[in-house]
Symmetry: none
Subunit: 197 residues, 2 copies
């Protein structure tokens, strides 16, 4: 089963990071991006196509019909509302609700329920970006800032092999620059920013 992808959109940096930290306890999911700007929501949702969108109603682009259609009609995406308002359930319909004051267990239970529901339908897959696990590993080393030579030494393979892998990666992903690959690796949780130097 592919991991469910989650987007978090909230004005507060602390809330975003805190929620991500809590959600790291979930097995079958990964938070792929945090959004802090109302204007970015539409574009990023379209680009990343998450399975779950956790969003503060304040960030909901009221005028963006595209996202709403995707949210409510196509039913591809689970919508979870994140807010400090108590009576949100009565005002807005969504698949789930998280309050700023909710404890970790409350949040995790609710999320697990959503994940179970989503995976029941068992859609095949859609991620065309299928790089092999070996390639993922190489990519990780690239994003960490190692040279081809260093990667080769570390993995006990020849530099030619590294080069070949690298060629395949850049071709598959359509990303040529090291910075692009680095961002890709971060976004896909291959590395964390702390590790890089």
């Amino acid at each position: 089963m592919a991991r469910s992808t989650i987007l978090i959109a909230d004005n507060s940096c602390m809330i975003r990071k805190g929620l991500r930290s809590i959600l790291q306890n979930l097995e079958n999911s990964e938070v792929i991006q945090l959004i802090d700007n109302k204007e970015d929501v539409c574009g990023i949702v379209h680009k990343r196509k998450p399975d779950i969108l956790i969003i503060n109603p304040d960030m909901l682009p009221g005028d963006c019909l595209d996202v709403k259609r995707e949210l409510f009609n196509e039913n591809k995406l689970s919508l979870i509302l994140l807010s400090n308002r108590k009576n949100l359930k009565n005002d807005l319909k969504a698949d789930g609700y998280i309050n700023y004051m909710d404890g970790q267990n409350t949040i995790l239970d609710m999320m697990q329920e959503i994940l179970n529901k989503n995976n029941k339908s068992s859609f095949p897959n859609k991620n065309s970006e299928t790089i092999s696990s070996r390639e993922k590993n190489i990519l990780k080393h690239i994003a960490l800032g190692l040279t081809n030579k260093e990667i080769a030494d570390q993995l006990f393979i020849s530099i030619h092999t590294v080069v070949t892998h690298r060629k395949n990666i850049t071709q598959k992903l359509g990303i040529k620059s090291v910075s692009g690959l680095t961002v890709y690796a971060i976004l896909h949780n291959l590395i964390s920013m702390d590790e890089v130097k």
Copy 2:
């Protein structure tokens, strides 16, 4: 220089974890405990003796004179108030204030100031990370994935100049790899992840 210790007390799990995540970017400090229960504050502060207490006023034990004495008289401990109220500064005196909506940089700047004040005794400064605004701009382009040639064309300068800037940047920051520079640029808000390709 010993690392400064920080305690965080707030009702919201998300806020606690989010703030801790943000503060991990600080060099000379570490968050030693998160407190979610008003009753525990006094005891934990006494036991752990942190250098900095970040606390939601709702958690402040109004009846606990010990903590207050330590806070305001002995002046050993820096008090930072954490809240979603805007007008907090007028109501309560503290060494610093964090609003739920504050961005990461705002928070880190404020905290760094507190840390510097506390550590005034020792070292003068250490932020050798002073790259010029021009260098910042070059760095931005590097992190965006442009080649030296492309940067030169875009800024109407010769490729030699770009190379020289690049040399200075890598020397000043001590970061050699493009991926490292990319992460640096993201972390310092020179670019956002979306822009990279």
